[in-house]
């Protein structure tokens, strides 16, 4: 195959990955605390191209190199449930996952049978000291903007809210949680996280924009498909016409 065909096929492949990502975003358009993913196109450069040799087959190709997660805030929805907490500013809640701390913006908490405050999956919500928060039964729970948990007005714990120097090493762990893949990327305490009790942060997937992306991906796919067709036609021509011997 010639360069045109290979480049177009690589483009088709990456549009498919784009659609995979878009499908996941749209499927999670109602998931609390979900942050949408975007692809990051890059160019694959072969060793020949890197060493300055020109014209090698498939010297540089468009590929999806990585994705980046859009950490912009989602819309804050009122639920009225006292154990729903939204972070209006920056930061993440820290929960104790099975393999270490997980970070999440989904503040949909519940009380475990042993009284511990935990997220949907039963992972305990951590306080700044690393401990858990125990909720006494039958008390009115109040959560202040600073993250202090009060039962009938008396302080019983503090919800930890942390931020990172860089959000780039954060990997999605599923269940609306993130894990920190780079131990050098240390957490910093958010002193005034502006927590909102009785509210949840919705998904930040821009649905209208996603619909537009869907059309654009499909049309690009169509164009690339045409390009593959042209390339194949040219190959046919060169085989049947150019290389024709005699009549």
């Amino acid at each position: 195959m010639d360069n045109l065909g290979i480049a177009a096929a690589s483009g088709l492949q990456s549009r498919m990955t784009s659609l995979d990502m878009l499908a996941n975003n749209l499927a999670n358009s109602n998931t609390v605390g979900f942050k949408s993913d975007r692809e990051f196109y890059g160019t694959f450069a072969s060793d020949d191209a890197q060493n300055g040799v020109d014209g090698g087959s498939g010297a540089s190709l468009p590929v999806i190199q990585k994705q980046w997660t859009d950490f912009s805030p989602g819309t804050i929805e009122t639920t009225g449930s006292p154990l729903d907490v939204a972070i209006a500013g920056k930061g993440f809640f820290v929960v104790s996952g099975p393999k270490g701390p997980l970070y999440t913006r989904a503040g949909h908490f519940k009380v475990m049978p042993n009284g511990e405050l935990a997220n949907d999956n039963g992972y305990a919500v951590r306080s700044p000291s690393g401990g858990n928060i125990t909720i006494p039964a039958g008390k009115t729970i109040n959560i202040t903007k600073e993250g202090q948990v009060q039962a009938d007005g008396a302080a019983i714990g503090q919800i930890d809210v942390v931020d990172f120097k860089s959000t780039e090493p954060l990997q999605k762990a599923g269940q609306s949680c993130f894990e920190n893949s780079d131990p050098k990327n240390q957490t910093t305490q958010v002193t005034n996280p502006d927590l909102q009790q009785g509210k949840l942060e919705g998904s930040n997937v821009p649905v209208a924009y996603a619909a537009m992306r869907l059309v654009s991906i499909m049309r690009q796919f169509e164009m690339l498909q045409k390009a593959v067709g042209v390339s194949s036609e040219m190959d046919t021509k060169s085989i049947t016409d150019v290389a024709r011997v005699g009549n």
Partner: protein, 263 residues
């Protein structure tokens, strides 16, 4: 690309469940003591296509990887125990709990169940029962010749008998609470059953030390379903379903084009 089909399908399934849940809330908008449920979703696991830190060339490494999500799933639909509105009935045996707590009743099978529906009646033996005939626990018995029944905020039930000037005490209604009421299991008929997630019921007198609510006679508690909110949720769910079905269509179209690449 098969991923896109499955992710979109998971989104459609989740939204379908969301609509089912909204439909049940709306159907129970007039059920006394009904508490709405809200569906919650979570994203599924991610496939790591490119690991962060993998070698990009001989000298460089990839700073952040490529993760592709696999769609969504519905994680729970918890019960929202906010107070419903009170409607006045003037029936002396209609009792509401102002605040936390549940009435404890014994079902015909013999096990205990809990309810917020305080529209009580008296059965043939004079016991205070729910509209399904479940006896309140501990039992309260009111004789047939009792004239006026009074329920005090602390649950004390008393009645007057003909020819007497002093009220007779029939008993005290106890209400129960749970560590985590959102984990209760709905049995239908406005009844809830405790689970491992709720912890054991703690029984106490209304308005007592355990943060329990007080009782109010002559009212029923309406459902806490907000019809406006449910309709907004319905619109959101329907549009999200539509968006996901568009992705299925797009993935299908793209597949068709791939299949037509070879003429």
């Amino acid at each position: 690309m098969i991923r896109a089909l499955y992710s979109a399908a998971s989104g459609m399934t989740a939204q379908q469940l969301n609509v089912d849940n909204i439909a049940n809330n709306l159907a129970n908008a007039n059920t006394a003591g009904y508490k709405e449920r809200r569906a919650q979703f979570q994203d599924l696991l991610y496939q790591n296509i490119v690991q962060p830190g993998a070698a990009a060339s001989q000298q460089t490494t990839v700073p952040s990887g490529l993760q592709l999500g696999m769609g969504t799933r519905s994680s729970s639909n918890e019960i929202i125990f906010t107070q419903g509105n009170f409607s006045q009935t003037d029936n002396p045996l209609d009792i509401v709990i102002q605040g936390n707590g549940f009435f404890q009743v014994r079902r015909a099978q013999g096990d205990l169940a809990y309810t917020r529906d305080g529209s009580f009646q008296v059965d043939k033996d004079g016991n205070l029962v729910t509209s399904d005939g479940n006896v309140i626990e501990p039992q309260i018995t009111i004789p047939s010749n009792a004239q006026s029944v009074t329920v005090a905020p602390d649950g004390t039930v008393s009645y007057m008998q003909p020819g007497q000037s002093v009220a007779t005490k029939a008993g005290q209604i106890q209400i129960a609470n749970f560590q985590n009421p959102a984990g209760l299991n709905s049995l239908g008929h406005n009844l809830y059953q405790p689970t491992d997630a709720t912890g054991a019921a703690t029984l106490g007198t209304p308005g007592g030390q355990e943060g329990l609510g007080t009782l109010l006679q002559g009212y029923t508690e309406q459902s806490n379903v907000s019809i406006v909110q449910e309709f907004i949720n319905l619109i959101i769910a329907q549009r999200a379903y539509e968006a996901n079905s568009k992705v299925v269509k797009a993935a299908d179209d793209m597949y068709q084009q791939v299949n037509n690449l070879k003429q």
